[in-house]
């Protein structure tokens, strides 16, 4: 990298960074450290343990990893298992793959159809949580919902989505909700590919599939990994599906974010909630590190 003389002196630079640093320290760094401490206490919101929380050692963790019941509905292990299916279904297969497909299909195509699809996908992304939740409750309704109206017209009957296929319906919902980010990221990445690369391939007689496999996907590798990291973490932590199902029926869509909410903010058991949060954050950190290592490895070779 070439050395550019700084326009801003380091004193002014530091001054400019102070407010951001304060917010990041208070709302990012401090919570991350404090939560480890909280997870070893019996902190609650009200009562004796609110003012003077006791140190309880690993009790909160022991309750979390009680392996006799941990895969039962409404327990931590079950929530983790549901979250894994939710992330694989709606983040990896849903948002990233569909976003990539959309960006590639519309690559170097212009026109009203592309604009229309982009606007619809982006609307699904930006409209308030509560509003889209209501729309989807209506959409998936067994007797009147649009989805079943189409399915029954096509001869698939009228399944009760909210009851029989609860996890599948929140996976569909979250795919619908978040695909826009991946689509936008990939299409702006594709726009940076020099046209000459593809023209050369076309002159050499490459098929569409060959161009995709040998030119576009390798050039997109870094973007795909970055997108995978962010979408995985965001999906792991999303709370939006609470508005659709509240974790039900019978805890069948209770992902860890909803489980944490139930323990910490319905039972106000902050110590236990903090222990869950620690485990969740460590899993997230591990996922981020795996992706980062992959990213570093691929940037060495390209």
């Amino acid at each position: 990298m070439e050395q550019k003389p700084p326009i801003l002196s380091w004193q002014s630079g530091a001054l400019f960074l102070v407010p951001a640093f304060l917010f990041i320290a208070v709302f990012l760094l401090f919570p991350f450290v404090w939560i480890f401490y909280l997870s070893f206490t019996n902190q609650t919101l009200l009562g004796a343990n609110a003012a003077n929380p006791q140190f309880v050692g690993f009790e909160n963790y022991a309750r979390l990893f009680d392996f006799d019941s941990w895969l039962n509905r409404g327990q931590f292990g079950s929530a983790l298992f549901i979250t894994a299916q939710f992330v694989i279904g709606s983040a990896l297969i849903g948002q990233v793959a569909l976003g990539l497909a959309l960006a590639i299909v519309f690559f170097r195509r212009k026109g009203i159809l592309r604009e229309l699809v982009y606007v619809l996908v982006i609307f699904a992304w930006i409209i308030p949580d509560v509003v889209v939740a209501f729309s989807w409750v209506a959409f998936l309704n067994r007797d009147e919902g649009t989805f079943n109206a189409i399915l029954s017209r096509l001869g698939f009957g009228r399944p009760d989505w909210q009851l029989e296929h609860a996890l599948l319906s929140v996976i569909l919902f979250n795919t619908w909700r978040g695909t826009a980010f991946s689509m936008l990221l990939f299409s702006s990445a594709l726009a940076t590919i020099p046209p000459s690369y593809l023209e050369t391939a076309e002159v050499a007689g490459a098929s569409a599939f060959q161009k995709l496999r040998d030119i576009l996907l390798p050039l997109l590798q870094g973007h795909i990994l970055t997108d995978l990291i962010l979408i995985t973490l965001w999906t792991f932590n999303t709370f939006s599906i609470f508005l659709l199902t509240a974790g039900g029926p019978a805890y069948r869509t209770e992902v860890v974010s909803i489980y944490t909410y139930r323990i910490a903010f319905q039972f106000f058991d902050f110590g236990q909630g903090a222990a869950i949060a620690v485990v969740v954050m460590l899993i997230n950190l591990a996922l981020a590190l795996i992706y980062l290592i992959l990213l570093r490895r691929q940037s060495v070779y390209t």
């Binding site: 801003l8 407010p19 159809l113 409209i127 999303t238």
Partner: protein, 276 residues
């Protein structure tokens, strides 16, 4: 042979578009039609009979209207101003002062903020806000939004500032302008499109959010629209469908208008593409 292959390709293209448009459009179609329908329905149907009465009733609910035009506005505008100002200052410093590894720093920042987020982060953040005495205040909600949105805002903003040529600022410095003048009179006008995008993005995020105000606010008169919408439920807990739909539509419209404005004025896209 080649011609048949081409035709098949085109057919697949249009079928794909049709399925995608149905998947993304149909769930929202209900939201657009139902508010104008006199009959409550969960199906997508042409309003029969057509009416504006639902909006009339929604506007008569002073609690819900205040949630939308007052509480939501205060929270979203507060978050927008804070995020935009702080992100602009720090992104400018990260780009124009000599900060070692500023690109990696912002990348790690956005990753870390995606780890410390959601309900997991709300446990300590709730206690911080509680101990600061900011539970059930607009300020408490606003600062939590600023803290949460800042990393992504700095990431996007730094990318944008990096894309602006330094020559204007350099020649102003050579001409003897004070550094504060250079920032205010030369750099800021160039950064303004990026600031607009960040402002609207943060407004939309705070406007639509449910979790943070739901956890940090207590009194009904401060609740934003995402919670006030439940005032259109009967005491038995069943929604008044037409009113919920009408209110939801009013709640969604500002976001849609802002998006259309950004798209028309600046083009809605990622600058340069997020990468390493």
């Amino acid at each position: 042979m080649k011609r048949i292959k081409h035709l098949l390709g085109e057919a697949a293209y249009y079928i794909f578009i049709l399925v995608v448009m149905a998947f993304f459009g149909l769930p929202l179609l209900w939201l657009v039609l139902t508010p104008f329908n006199a009959r409550a329905t969960l199906a997508v149907e042409i309003p029969q009979p057509f009416t504006l009465d639902n909006f009339q009733q929604v506007l008569n609910n002073t609690f819900a209207v205040r949630a939308l035009v007052q509480n939501n506005m205060i929270i979203a505008v507060g978050a927008m101003l804070g995020v935009t100002l702080i992100a602009t200052l720090s992104a400018y410093a990260l780009s124009r002062a000599r900060v070692p590894g500023s690109s990696q720093l912002t990348y790690i920042l956005i990753l870390f903020s995606s780890v410390v987020t959601g309900t997991a982060a709300m446990v300590p953040i709730f206690l911080i806000i509680f101990n600061l005495g900011l539970i059930d205040t607009y300020l408490g909600v606003i600062v939590v939004f600023i803290g949460g949105l800042l990393p992504a805002a700095i990431f996007i903003m730094r990318d944008f500032v990096e894309g602006i040529p330094r020559s204007y600022e350099e020649s102003a410095l050579v001409a003897g302008a004070a550094p504060s003048r250079v920032f205010l009179d030369v750099a800021l006008p160039l950064i303004r499109p990026g600031m607009m995008v960040i402002a609207i993005w943060s407004f939309v995020q705070a406007w639509g959010s449910f979790l943070i105000p739901f956890i940090l606010l207590r009194s009904p008169e401060r609740m934003p629209a995402s919670i006030a919408v439940y005032s259109f439920y009967t005491e038995a807990g069943t929604p008044n469908i037409t009113l919920v739909a009408a209110y939801s539509l009013l709640y969604a419209i500002p976001v849609v208008i802002l998006y259309l404005f950004v798209n028309w004025r600046y083009g809605f896209r990622f600058f340069g593409g997020i990468k390493r």
